[in-house]
């Protein structure tokens, strides 16, 4: 099987500073890969070079011929001066058949927002519309750059379930960058931990227990996967008296 995207000796610079060096990475069809790393580790630069928005300083990015990329950006600030319905947004930059638009909104879990204004959507709805937009091209690979940044934890978890659902149905590969380690890693086949270079990579369990990973994220995320499972093992009702947040005190 040939990789969808492959980098060889990739080194990236941002404003003249080298932010990431010597990355050898291959994304295979159908797999979910997560890139984790602290702020300034070069995650977003790596993403941008993979979609071709950032030219490598040295090294090479090879994309499979005719590869279709669905890109879900970190966030998208829509200026309040720009009136834009969801449907109109999904028809940019190319006009789509109405049936495709409806199908993409359904697949992304927001079938009813077609006529709403983009700036009137909630954070979760907004990210799902961005996902729907990426799905319109029937991509071979979905790339998500901190796609859940504005969402709370249940919102993020539900968003990642949607991603897994999309992968199951379409078979596309997924490459994502995130801080939400404990949520995101559980959904991944493979994790790449970077900080200016690739620190370690492998299955989520292996990376989570690697010393390089521990060194980067400290003990706070020790047992990140366990935390993830723990959070879904029980739920608090609205009148529960032992809340985890200060608002409940």
């Amino acid at each position: 099987m040939t990789p969808l995207i492959e980098t060889k000796g990739l080194t990236l610079a941002y404003h003249g500073n080298v932010v990431l060096r010597d990355v050898n990475f291959a994304l295979m069809p159908g797999e979910i890969v997560t890139i984790v790393g602290p702020n300034g580790s070069g995650k977003s630069s790596l993403m941008r070079s993979l979609i071709g928005a950032l030219r490598p300083l040295t090294g090479k990015v090879t994309r499979q011929k005719g590869l279709k990329i669905g890109y879900v950006p970190q966030s998208l600030t829509i200026d309040g001066t720009l009136p834009l319905t969801v449907t109109r947004f999904l028809n940019l930059p190319y006009k789509r058949p109405a049936a495709d638009v409806a199908a993409a909104l359904r697949a992304a879990g927001v079938p009813t927002v077609a006529d709403r204004q983009m700036i009137g959507l909630s954070g979760g709805q907004f990210q799902r519309v961005l996902l729907a937009r990426a799905l319109l091209d029937k991509p071979d690979v979905l790339i998500l750059d901190e796609a859940t940044q504005g969402l709370d934890q249940p919102g993020a978890a539900s968003f990642y379930h949607q991603i897994e659902d999309v992968r199951r149905r379409t078979g596309c590969a997924v490459l994502m960058v995130s801080h939400d380690l404990h949520v995101v890693m559980a959904a991944s086949d493979r994790v790449l931990c970077i900080n200016g270079h690739v620190c370690c990579e492998g299955a989520p369990e292996i990376v989570a227990s690697a010393p390089e990973y521990r060194a980067l994220f400290g003990t706070g995320t020790q047992g990140a996967l366990a935390l993830y499972r723990h959070e879904h093992s029980h739920s608090h009702g609205p009148d529960c008296d032992h809340g985890h947040d200060e608002a409940a005190e």
Partner: protein, 264 residues
């Protein structure tokens, strides 16, 4: 029909309004109002150069407007903020233009005419230049409409979809320069930016899609041009400023409408 100066003035105003309104929407959406303003102010330097070298005003203004717009686009976001760059480039251009004009021998230049426009003195040739320029701008904007919108939303997303954001930016820059060049005769350097921005701003509260906003902006611009011309004739007021005043009145109306009806 074109023998009547009022008819020529009306056609000139309409031409500029129709070209400026859709372009003005992009100026508003991309928050680049300052570029329009700076380009227009520096255009006075273009007037001076054109008079000095004996070329047409249109050519001189177009050249300087292009230079300034490209300069602003490439320099902004580097070491100086765009507001500071505006201060440097626009006002240096304006000042340099005013100084250069005073050096011109044997020419009594009516600078006021270029600062606030002289739509009633539009000739047949001017009219041809204005409509060619307007058609060019409108054609450019319509042709690249989807790509321009996508780039405005997110350069990265446009890039991922196979577009070249830099190229789209260039299209806007050129269109802006052409608009400034054809509008200087109609409303003058000081008020060109108003013709770009006010119709778009007036259209915003009553629009749900980018297309309806561009259309409403065009209607607003056309009403302002014709209404302003009529009023300036009736009350003997300067025409360019009257056109902008009518546009401002429409802006006030739609804003009030949106506040009263509780939208946005």
């Amino acid at each position: 029909m074109l023998d009547d100066f009022m008819v020529r003035a009306a056609l000139a105003g309409l031409g500029v309004a129709i070209a400026a309104a859709p372009l003005g929407c992009f100026v508003v959406w991309r928050r680049m109002a300052y570029i329009g303003d700076a380009t227009a102010h520096a255009a006075i330097l273009g007037v001076a150069l054109a008079l000095a070298f004996g070329v047409s005003i249109f050519a001189g203004v177009l050249l300087i407007a292009l230079c300034v717009a490209v300069l602003l686009t490439t320099l902004s976001g580097r070491s100086l903020g765009s507001d500071a760059l505006l201060g440097v480039i626009a006002h240096s251009g304006l000042a340099l233009g005013l100084v250069s004009v005073s050096f011109l021998p044997n020419t009594r230049v009516d600078l006021m005419g270029y600062l606030v426009g002289d739509i009633l003195a539009v000739s047949r040739v001017d009219l041809m230049v204005i409509w060619s320029g307007a058609a060019l701008v409108l054609g450019f904007v319509l042709w690249r409409w989807q790509a321009l919108l996508a780039t405005t939303l997110s350069p990265d997303m446009a890039q991922a979809a196979g577009l070249t954001p830099k190229k789209e930016q260039l299209v806007l820059t050129v269109a802006l320069a052409v608009t400034v060049a054809v509008a200087i005769k109609v409303v003058g350097a000081l008020l060109i930016a108003a013709l770009l921005i006010i119709p778009a701003a007036a259209a915003r509260p009553i629009s749900r899609t980018p297309e309806s906003m561009a259309l409403m902006a065009t209607l607003t611009g056309a009403c302002a041009a014709l209404g302003g011309l009529t009023l300036s004739f009736a009350f003997d007021t300067p025409t360019g400023p009257t056109i902008v005043t009518v546009a401002a009145a429409i802006f006030t109306l739609t804003q009030s409408f949106s506040i009263i009806s509780g939208r946005n």
